[in-house]
């Protein structure tokens, strides 16, 4: 995992395309690094917007007095994690804030944008609308768990090949959603892809490239 505090390419030029190896593949480190920089910039924008709109409300989604945290176990990306969270903590917040898995993004936090999409038991869900405590014993997969070591999942590779993003903030959710989509009974047309991916909003409007990425990536096994 690359350190989000360090520029991934050392040039400070966030707009640079990720470097592609001779065989057309990009390493997971480079891909994640690029996505993290884009995500961090937009996340900062989101937070300041949110603070303005709510008169300086704190960024945390927890309000009022706390209740005692409860010990829970989550199976994330093949690893079991023991953690203590309040029952009101969403799966998204537990992943990001307790487990440090910040690949899953917080966009609307109301189930409308899809940036938080993860797989639970192989099915795509909005991690912002379920509580961590409810997901014990379930197999959870996040964007961090998609690759095999340094080898990207075919859907990640396809998003790179088709330039299926601009700022990158929605990208982890788009990719997780596309992996879930590929396992569902949809037809083969682009209209099916657009309908099947309707739960993921891209504010940059990279949809034509996203559709191309999903079209190309959907049939390929990890």
């Amino acid at each position: 995992m690359s350190d989000p505090k360090q520029p991934p390419h050392g040039t400070g030029a966030e707009g640079d395309a990720p470097s592609v190896l001779d065989d057309g593949k990009t390493t997971r480190r480079e891909f994640v690094g690029t996505a993290v920089v884009g995500g961090t910039l937009l996340a900062a924008g989101f937070l300041s917007l949110s603070a303005t709109a709510q008169g300086g409300a704190k960024a945390s989604s927890l309000e009022g007095p706390s209740v005692a945290p409860v010990p829970i176990k989550l199976q994330v990306n093949g690893q079991e994690h023991a953690l203590e969270v309040e029952p009101r903590v969403t799966l998204l917040d537990a992943l990001r804030e307790n487990l440090g898995l910040t690949g899953s993004k917080k966009g609307c936090d109301l189930g409308q944008c899809g940036a938080c999409t993860v797989l639970v038991e192989g099915r795509r869900v909005n991690s912002c609308l379920t509580l961590a405590v409810m997901q014990q014993g379930k197999r959870i997969t996040t964007i961090e768990g998609l690759s095999q070591g340094e080898t990207l999942h075919p859907m990640q590779q396809s998003f790179l090949a088709h330039d299926g993003f601009q700022c990158g903030y929605c990208t982890p959710g788009q990719i997780m959603s596309a992996v879930g989509f590929s396992r569902e009974p949809w037809g083969q047309t682009d209209a099916d892809i657009r309908e099947g991916m309707c739960g993921n909003i891209c504010r940059c409007g990279a949809y034509p490239h996203i559709v191309a990425a999903v079209r190309d990536g959907r049939g390929k096994q990890a």
């Binding site: 989604s61 927890l62 309000e63 009022g64 007095p65 706390s66 209740v67 409860v70 309040e86 029952p87 009101r88 969403t90 936090d109 109301l110 189930g111 899809g114 999409t117 099915r123 795509r124 869900v125 909005n126 912002c128 609308l129 379920t130 509580l131 405590v133 409810m134 959603s177 879930g180 989509f181 569902e184 009974p185 657009r194 309908e195 099947g196 309707c198 739960g199 993921n200």
Partner: protein, 328 residues
Amino acid sequence: MRPIDYTAAQDVRGALQKLAARPLESAPIGGGTNLVDLMKIHVQNPALLVDINGLPLAEIQEVEGGLRIGALVRNSDLANHPLVRERYPVLSEALLSGASPQLRNMATVGGNILQRTRCAYFRDISQPCNKREPGSGCGALEGFNRMHAVLGTSDKCIAANPSDMSVALAALDATVHVSGPKGERTVAFGDFHLLPGSTPERETVLKPGELITHVSLPASRFAARSRYLKVRDRASYAFALASAAVAIELEGKTIKDARVALGGVGTKPWRSAEAEKALMGQPADEVHFKAAAAAALKSAKPRTHNAFKVELARRTLVRVLALAAGLA
């Protein structure tokens, strides 16, 4: 989100007991897509969540030619079930037109039936809302009411019921099965949701401490000839401006029997006996589809911004009747 306690139940009896232990402040949670959303914006503030996902209510079974659908069946599983696609296509189409694939993978049948309105005044706690806070007034009556209901409204509430699935269930003569502290009971789907009248805070006949356990669909001679059509502001992932679920039985070119329900325009899933009556025994043609549509919307009470829904709902119904009759 405010602090909550959490407990998980493994069977119906256990869930009812846990709910009854703190009857005024507990709520069951299934998919959570609606409840967690409303908890985040402080519209619903239960102090105790009883997780019912461990209950054995996630099966779809064939019963006497009909279907018994567990309350915890996920919307996507119901929509894609072979028997639903074959025998009740209107239900599959309605489900697949609702929400997003992620939400459909989470949302349950029971929760969908109990889905709260998307009225912006209901969802904004700085605004008056008789449904959320009885007696506080209604911001929608004279406010921005473009998305609101034109059928079944009152001078206290014009909030539209947002469910697509429920419109199909209304057309299919579904029955809701409920368990509570006093035992089990069944409610005809048409009786399950209440009109707002002077008590818009009461949305269904479900009593505190009761759980929906399953929904049953009767065998039907003609539900295989059923369709759902939804009209919205964008092609996908939006609530209905108007929608219609219909099933028709044809004998030659004559309509022998019909079921008609409307969505997006009613304060509850809107079964239209008037439209059905106008179709029965008549030729399946545009003239009679239009007559049925006029009958369905006859009692409509449009407000400042939603008058367009009356004509839109009529045209939606005419169109879906033509689709179901194989004429479009």
